[in-house]
Symmetry: C2
Subunit: 376 residues, 2 copies
Amino acid sequence: MIFSIERDTLLNHLLNVQKGLPHKTPLPILYAIKFEVHEDHMILTSSNTDVAIQVFVDATDLKIKQTGKVAIPGRYLIEIMRKITSSIVEFALIEEKIIVIKADRSEFKLRLMDVEDYPEVDFLDLDNPVILDSQLLKTVIKETNFATATSEKRPILTGVNFKYQDKELYCVATDSYRLSQKSMKLKTNSKNFDIVLPNKSLDELSRILDNYNDELELYINPNKVLFKMKNILFQTRLLEGNYPDTLRIIPKEFPVEIPFNKEALLKAVERVSLLSPKDRETNYNIIKLSLRADHVVEMSSTNHEIGDAFEEIIPSGDAIGPVIKIAFSSKYLVEALKSFSSNEVVISFAGEVKPFIIKGELDANLLHLILPVRIE
Amino acid sequence: MIFSIERDTLLNHLLNVQKGLPHKTPLPILYAIKFEVHEDHMILTSSNTDVAIQVFVDATDLKIKQTGKVAIPGRYLIEIMRKITSSIVEFALIEEKIIVIKADRSEFKLRLMDVEDYPEVDFLDLDNPVILDSQLLKTVIKETNFATATSEKRPILTGVNFKYQDKELYCVATDSYRLSQKSMKLKTNSKNFDIVLPNKSLDELSRILDNYNDELELYINPNKVLFKMKNILFQTRLLEGNYPDTLRIIPKEFPVEIPFNKEALLKAVERVSLLSPKDRETNYNIIKLSLRADHVVEMSSTNHEIGDAFEEIIPSGDAIGPVIKIAFSSKYLVEALKSFSSNEVVISFAGEVKPFIIKGELDANLLHLILPVRIE
């Protein structure tokens, strides 16, 4: 196996493949990236228990002298490529177990793993795909993934639910204290589906999408899904189990609606939560928010040991409804606000002990919901 | 006690005082910053077991309505000031134990600590001071402090030795594997001294010097020293014990001298150490360097499990001397190189088992020394 390629080209491909390397695995061969070098292209593969990634390389700067396949220790290879400053790198298999990497006056000899040990990975694209816009998918991940559960108490909540029904795609994440939901139409129709994608897989996919601007195809298989990009296949396992029916917990009636400038609200929430006491269950800072009769909004926190904080905010437009007082974890509001593109948001309250929701002027079909805590 | 001040002014002063707050202390009052508000100025004090800091504030935007003194919880106060966006903040003592901080529509009530509990700190400026240039002192800290010991095995090595003798000031740090030494003349003469300043104190001082460009006065007292700046007093304890005589371990004769471009050498060292085996004692990567008969420099590392790395570097000028081969921890060379301002450095070798030294073209009187390890 002998080939040369531009260092930048190879590094970019490797950084995508890297997302499929395991952090820890009982199967050491998975620490390798599998290189399959053919006559006019090569295929790089990585995989772990969650995801499998395959990158197809046919760059014009890839010059193949001899075909072959090898398993190269992934992290060492990537570290080497990062530190190399020359423009071209050459790879040559000199013994069955050693590959030489040359770049200017640098030379690395890396011990290979046995490529025959690398497990066969099936990338299944049998079904009719769902067509997705890469930037929209990236936005959806940003808007929902943060709201998934971090604890494994209810494993199904550590993923984002993608549910297609009545010609609408709902993407929902909740940790049972707050919820994020984005809905959208698809470009082409699809059969109904109801799947839950692990939050870590979505994080990795999102990083790959940072450098991908095109359509992608989603193939849904019984236990896994495949995202097919131009040169990249990204496959992830699905979470097993039934995702809770979240639509029914979203209140329908909102007697109180208050519009805010997002940045002003965010800054005020951050200030007022500096001294606030922690919730017993979640350990997050609890703050109080109330709409006064004069339609000024007050936020406050009281900490018997440290002190009190108090803020007044003038709504950015006309507030609707009677006075209300509600308490909640400031972290949930901060994270929800940060996920909006809009500068103007509206918070709608269903009552003092009911969930409240936040929507953004420019963020169509995006909804965040937060459960209040009882005020003692 | 009532006063107002510009938020930016106060925050800048607080960030200097912050360097004297303890991370952990059995004396909770030290978590406070002591405010002493006089007719036309105020004094802020912080202290811990290593350092004590006092800042004198007489900014024109400080408007004092009522004098007084209080102890305000330091980290909460600084967090509040960081998050405030209004230009002016007002402080008012409303009860004996509560201070109100107002900024626009924000209001904080902080519980105070008992200012009478705050320990008296003497800032001693009795002696004739040594006059130091702040930027030179900052440079010296950058050039030496990284080479101090991190382990407490020999506590005296966790500080930098400042030794004035024969009208020359030597600043030396060593962890017994490598050494950094900077020497310089003083502007005014001083009595001889020989003191060791804790590395953490120097780190904090260096951060204060980031925003201070003027002369400063150094007062040397039996167990501590005081750095006196225009508005800031910075006092640190000294390390007890005798600093080893390091001058005698610096070789005098160097049969081999090799000039390098610093950046090219740094990059090559970083690459060749990617695969290199670890030193048993320090756990740092060991690499080999040799000057060949053709005056090309080779660097290499061999790792039986992972693979080999090899680099050739052409010296940036004429290398002097016979062939030589030496092994050492790459980390020491990387850190030494990074502390130079020069683009051109010279490494001088006294022999294969003797310390070697590095000097920079533009870094007058700065010397780094590294002990080799034996090649097996």
